[in-house]
Amino acid sequence: MSGKPYRLPLQNGIGRRVDQTKPVSFSFDGKQMQGLAGDTLASALLANGQRIMARSFKYHRPRSLISLGSEEPNAIVGIGEGAAHEPNIRAGQVELFEGLVAKSQNRWPSLDFDIGILNDMFSRFMPSGFYYKTFMWPASFWYKVYEPVIRYAAGLGVAPDNRDQDIYEQIHVDCDVLVAGAGVAGIAAAEAAAISGQRVIICDENPYFGGQADISTGMIEDKPQIDWVREKTAFLADHENVQVLNRTTVTGAYAHNYLLALQQVSDHDPEMIANGAPRHRLWKIRAAKVIMATGAIERSLTFANNDRPGIMLSGAARGLVERYGVAPGLTGSIFTTNDDGYRTALSLKQAGVGVARIIDCRQQTESEAVNAAIAAGIEVQFEAAISNVETSRGGKSIEAVKVAPYQKNRGRVTDETRIACDFVAVAGGFNPVVNLWCHNGGKLKFDSGLSSFVPDSHHDNIVAVGSANGAMDLATCIDQGYAAGETSKFKRPKTSTVKEAKAESLWFSPASGSDNEGIHHFIDFQHDVKASDLELAQREGYESVEHTKRYTTLGMATDQGKNSNINAMAVIALATGKKLEQVGTTTFRPPYTPISFGAIAGTSAGKLFHPVRETSVYGWHLKNTNVFEPVGDWRRPYCYPKPGESKQDAINREILNVRENVGILDASTLGKIEIKGPDAAKLLDLVYSNMFSTLKVGHCRYGLMLNELGFISDDGVTARLAEDHFLIHTTSGASDRIAAWLEEWLQTEWFDLDVFVTPVTEQWAQFAIAGPNARKVLEHMGTDIDLSLPFMTMASGNIGGFPVRLFRISFSGELSYELATPAGYGQSLWDAIMTAGSKFDIGVYGTEALHVLRAEKGFIVVGDETDGTVTPHDVGMSWAVSRKKPDFIGKRSLQQPFLAAEGRKQLVGLYTIDPDEVLPDGAHAVREVKQSPPMQTIGHVTSSYWSPTLKRSIAMALIENGRARMGETISFQLEDRTVKAEIVDPVFYDKQGDRQNV
């Protein structure tokens, strides 16, 4: 089919937005096409005779666009290629540019021939709830058969295949007045607010301001509305306290007038992107007042095969002609319930497009628009409705419509006439766009004149104006706009409009035969929800609209049911004998239109995704390894492989060097909090399960922190620096949490305690020096501290000229010291230790060696052996639970029956029967091995390693009644095999502690 007949002669105001001197090349599904500057992708495709733009999600029916705006459910395409591909874009909103690449969606293998159309033929077997009813058993079929097939044949677009190279940014602003929507009402509101000196932001999702003004007939100050719009837009753009944002959608309204707006900065212009402009900008706006001028969107009409390509909204047909000079077809029929259909008919006729007939469901009526259409020679049939659509080429071309006499509550059609036409414009009335009103809990009321819902009350400072508020008359729209924006009375411009005849509502157009069951009456086009599906859902008991929505997937596609919502509620009302206002609406949730992930991430991507905390020797680590693991906000070296060495070999070497010579670990990430004041000991007695008030100055003690539920929350060694001064250590990931936790208790419960909590983690660099040669290294460096200080004591002094706190503590089971020095000395001290240690074969070790060393000794790691449901008793640490203290956090809960009961999982060690077999972390032991799942679990592996010291695998596990099962062999069921292991004591190495007490 040649594209020529569809581009109309651009004259007499036809095709106002396009420039016929500027051709633009683009491609659609690989086919090269030409449009004009000013076209949208949709108008250019139609001008090329490319009517089919996508296929529907479930039945893969061929679809074309029905609207020009963000409500579009059908004409959903992918734009761009490779990493820059973006799926699910509305073709009517894509501004055409040279070289644009677009692809249709939901088709396989091609748009023209689609295998999924078989779904349409079997649609009788795909009723509502189909997904719930069909893909149920066996479960394995879901992953291997159903899901891949569904994703391949259907799916909502294709994700980009690489990292997005474009720039996205976010901006935080506040304003006095945010105007959402720049139709005539929004513009009036912004003008009044601007002149009264308020700081104004006015946004509109379209490139041009004015909303529907350019395709409406009313006059302002005796001029076409669009002239007034242009004049006021220029005024606002020049006004210093007004921010004018086109291509910007207010997507969500949240608590306390916080709003998100997505600005599509450069989607329309690749040159801007090439010059470094962001693609999208997300505005985070706090507005003292919100003026909602979001307009209204036209309703489609529900008749048999109303989804066929070429059936579009009346305003869209008019817009195609007047804005882009594109004819929707050669000859159209108009199906209307109001005067808007007549305006479209006149517009088509004036542009030279054939109008076969206006089919008006109303009784014969008179109005300026009706009379003008009749005077222009357009055939009008009152009290009639389209009952079906005749198509060829697999539903891709419209041949004719069937028309039947219509009266309210009339049943199945018996007498149809055929009207030849190749497109249909439908005018079903208007629904105010109330989404923003409802996002944060605004109430709606039913407007019987519109047969739709309009804003009612709201607790936020937000007002609705214009057609968003149900005002369909030009003068009222402008008056409401000025009234919302002004602080003192503002002169209204003179307006003139034609009087309209009363509109009707029509929710279900009867059809003949089985079609009257609604099996081809489409409501939600994108998700293929038909009137019959909604009725079935009612029969099956899904009476609440929220249940019907989820059961039928109504309104759950990318368009979120903008076009279908009210039509669906009306069909539910018909099916249940309720009134529309009794059915209500489903909940409106943000975003109004989809927001790109790029905009949500903004600049918080790549290196800026999350700040990394760096110890004073982080630079040294970066030079000596590239294997790191995240621990809290830190990145800690996991191990330090030598050239050609595997990670496992590096870990083994690091461990053995600690056991045989001496190792050094950067332990600076360890949480450090100073507790100081007369009540310091009292506070520690309350927050640790064991006793700290008895700790002597200069001594260290390991402590367990519980939460109020009695579960282990953190652990670490505490040193008493002075009578009123303690230094507590927390696990690396928990330092901030524990400091905040202590503050919370001090401020909210024990506010009479005289004590300060000061986090000092970053003030100190701290290194562990562990191994038989540890003391020799320090001696060699020279120190004024007596290095024979006993295990679990500390001293302050100088080592190698550096001021240090020296702790005789050990997490490896070896002779071990931890040296803390002010962070500024960190790198120098590290270097000095490495130099002094080289004589004693010092070797650096990473976090994995640290973990294996501690596991060989049976020390727990909070977060490995504990998971927030583990008590001290469970891990065999009842010795750390004081019986003397009357109170500490978690004490009373430990006595609750459910924690004191028998049969809890207890920490044990495991020796696999095959010493070379290393159990996977998290593997479950089963009570009884069976042929196939389910099998009952009796516990799981919490830590599992290869121990180079013991030359075999070791593991720790939480096992039901574990301590009473020593020596028992239990089975761990893995995916492909069963691994047997013997329950042993969790201390695998040097049980007496001889090595650390030297």
Partner: protein, 112 residues
């Protein structure tokens, strides 16, 4: 995104600059009589919370400001903050009188 004002340092900021601390005015039994707490008392202390539609009393921390905890009275349907008050204080008398349901029971003997 709520807009919150800290009654301690006076800063007004967005919700993400503050930290929510759950329901206010929960008495910790162990702080008064640790030896005599029934299982039911401890259960209620740990798990039972008011869930009003309307006026609610809760704890917040001025996370990125002064670091102090404070109390706030907020309407859970409109998100409107009715009052901010100290962490050791009871709500303004007028709000205690407006409280409904389980909050009204809690405040009954505290309104003098």
């Amino acid at each position: 995104m709520l807009l919150i004002k800290c009654p301690v340092c006076g800063v007004e900021g967005e919700e993400c600059d503050f930290h929510y601390g759950g329901q206010a005015h929960i008495a910790r039994p162990a702080s008064t009589d640790p030896e005599n707490i029934s299982n039911e008392q401890q259960r209620d202390y740990l798990f039972m919370r008011h869930n009003p539609k309307g006026l609610h009393f809760e704890r917040w921390r001025c996370d990125r400001g002064c670091g102090k905890w404070f109390h706030a009275a907020r309407d859970t349907t409109t998100h409107e903050f009715k009052a901010y008050y100290g962490i050791t204080e009871l709500p303004p008398k007028q709000l205690m009188q407006q409280a409904t349901g389980s909050w009204a029971e809690y405040f009954a003997d505290k309104i003098k």
